[in-house]
């Protein structure tokens, strides 16, 4: 039951005489065109998702044949203190990382909008985002090195004693969050900047005539009308933040004393240091479900799909 091309663009009707054959041929060509992409989607997205769920019901160290153990991995996870502490650490990380990123992002976007719309400025702020996580981590690991780093030397000018940012149990997680805030703020600002461009000028004009102060305009116009952008940024950055791995692999490796053992780091350790594929997969599936729930809640609360403009 081929659907005719009709309002799609290639006018099959032009070849009226052999219409039926033409339609099938178009569909076949289309399938040939999407075949590589569909293959890639099946092999590297769809099948692995189900396979991860399957592996999570097994006990498997990659050497022997996987052994079905039912829900044992999920039961174990419920009682695993390290799992819950890594979820908690990840949640803290998200809380340290996302709010500053949103606030700085909006402030920077408003500044760009009001003060300078030059592409040069926007691309300067984008530089950290375009660098590899590994490079960003190395830059800060070096700058904040307790003995030789530039950061501590500058703090020394103000009489601040040396701070071991990455090696202090109480500071390591905040430091990693700050590093990622540094990397992402310019990007977040760019998205907000785009959102600001979409707010019609006459709304502000009207507010000004009514005598609304710039602050009042920001709270009553800018923020509410920016809501779809805020929702998009929040959902994607929270999903990304929950999967923090690279910065930790390069700097603290989960330490000191497990202070930065986030969930993906813990999953990775279980899978590749302890060869517990089943258990690691079970945790990743739980993380997946958790992320779906969090995203749905955020989209619901922020009414992501609607705009107040129309």
């Amino acid at each position: 039951m081929a659907i005719p091309l009709s309002e799609a663009t290639l006018p099959v009707r032009a070849a009226a005489g052999s219409r039926r054959w033409q339609i099938d041929k178009t569909a076949l060509t289309a399938y040939a065109f999407i075949a590589p992409a569909v293959f890639g989607f099946l092999i590297f997205y769809l099948v692995p998702t189900f396979r991860a769920i399957y592996i999570s019901f097994t006990d498997w160290n990659l050497m022997r044949v996987p052994k079905m153990v039912g829900l044992a991995n999920y039961d174990r996870l419920l009682h695993d203190k390290n799992f819950w502490s890594s979820m908690w650490i990840t949640l803290l990380y998200v809380l340290y990382n996302i709010p500053p990123q949103l606030v700085f992002g909006i402030v920077l976007a408003v500044l760009l909008q009001r003060i300078s719309k030059s592409v040069t400025f926007r691309s300067l702020f984008l530089v950290p985002y375009l660098l590899s996580n590994v490079i960003v981590a190395m830059l800060w690991f070096w700058t904040l090195d307790p003995i030789l780093g530039f950061g501590n030397a500058v703090l020394g000018w103000f009489g601040v004693p040396r701070i071991a940012f990455f090696n202090d149990q109480n500071l390591a997680l905040v430091t990693i969050a700050a590093v990622n805030t540094w990397r992402h703020t310019g990007f977040t600002a760019l998205l907000f900047y785009t959102g600001l461009q979409n707010i019609p000028h006459d709304v502000y004009e009207a507010a000004r005539i009514e005598g609304a102060s710039p602050m009042r305009q920001f709270w009553s116009i800018t923020l509410p009308l920016l809501r779809p952008t805020i929702a998009f940024v929040l959902v994607t950055s929270v999903i990304g933040s929950f999967q923090i791995f690279d910065t930790i692999a390069v700097t603290t490796m989960g330490g000191p004393a497990n202070a930065t053992q986030t969930i993906v780091w813990y999953v990775y350790q279980n899978a590749f240091s302890s060869s517990r594929m089943g258990y690691a997969s079970a945790m990743s599936v739980v993380l997946f479900l958790f992320l779906i729930v969090i995203s749905l809640i955020q989209m619901r609360v922020l009414r992501a799909g609607e705009s107040d403009l129309k």
Binding site: P36, S123, I135, M138, I292
Partner: protein
């Protein structure tokens, strides 16, 4: 330019500009510190932590991490220097990036063309599935994908590192489909009436018409792949195939016991930044606008 506010409040404007400049410095300062360190003589880093310019400036750090230093050079005998063949790693990154970008752009543009211009049963459903794929976290996929590579015997190979990205990413299909939908189809229709086949229309009309979008996507994907760490870290840790980010990470952990080889590490870091910096310098507007677009939709 919000002339109303800015002209009535020049001080607000000046303060705003000052804040922007300070933030720009914060964005770039760590990179400058890395550049400074990379040019600093290894022996001098103990006495130049607070300096903004390299002390005893030298190219030696670049030469030694790239394996271009004279093996008889006495400076190589200094303790605390790590061992790395970073030239190999950079070359591996080029190979890896090319092996992903070229097929991904080709296959994604083919699929995007079909989704944007051809009607076929299941079109919307398949496209919807692709979009939902962006919601599947990498944390779920990496274990089964690693196992697949192991089963294929593709660990420590370029094809193992490139495969998951080479056929498609939901983003590139989505991006190109939007671009294709954004242009009128008159040219293609005219060609079709003249008897051109779909293949001809795709290769002779669609692709040449959208070189701008294709170039943009190529730049974005190249930057992403050049920077990629997690997957190549799982699949390709062998020095023969390890890419830039993986090499920097292993170079750092080499010296975990003593002080890391900071000058060597920063030379590698700077070399890893250069390609991205060049792209930004030459295609800055394009990069900024396309990232704005990719997030804004």
């Amino acid at each position: 330019m919000n002339t109303a506010e800015t002209s009535s409040n020049p001080w607000g404007h000046r303060i705003g500009m000052a804040v922007l400049i300070i933030l720009a410095i914060v964005s770039l300062l760590p990179i400058w510190i890395a550049v400074k360190t990379a040019f600093t003589d290894t022996g001098a880093i103990y006495t130049s932590a607070s300096s903004l310019l390299p002390k005893d400036a030298t190219l030696f750090n670049f030469q030694r991490v790239l394996g271009l230093a004279n093996p008889a050079d006495p400076r190589l005998a200094k303790s605390g220097l790590g061992k790395i063949d970073f030239l190999r790693a950079l070359l591996n990154s080029v190979i890896f990036t090319a092996m992903v970008v070229i097929p991904q752009i080709l296959f994604s543009s083919m699929a995007a063309f079909a989704f944007a211009r051809l009607k076929f049963p299941g079109r919307n459903f398949i496209f919807f599935l692709f979009i939902t794929a962006t919601m599947i976290p990498g944390a779920v996929l990496f274990i089964p994908n690693f196992i697949l590579m192991k089963e294929l015997g593709w660990l420590n190979t370029f094809q193992g590192m490139a495969a998951p990205y080479a056929l498609m990413t939901p983003f590139s299909i989505f991006f190109l489909r939007q671009m294709f939908l954004g242009t009128p189809a008159e040219l293609e229709e005219a060609a079709y009436i003249d008897g051109a086949g779909i293949m001809t229309i795709f290769f002779k009309i669609m692709l040449p018409l959208h070189t701008g979008s294709l170039a943009t996507l190529t730049i974005l994907t190249s930057i992403a792949m050049w920077n990629e760490f997690f997957w190549p870290f799982l699949i390709g840790r062998n020095p023969a195939v390890q890419v830039m980010a993986v090499a920097i990470n292993s170079f750092r952990t080499q010296s975990a016991a003593g002080t890391p080889d900071w000058t060597g590490l920063m030379a590698c870091t700077v070399l890893g930044i250069i390609p991205v910096a060049l792209l930004l310098i030459f295609f800055g507007r394009k990069v900024v606008e396309s990232i704005q677009f990719s997030g804004g939709k």
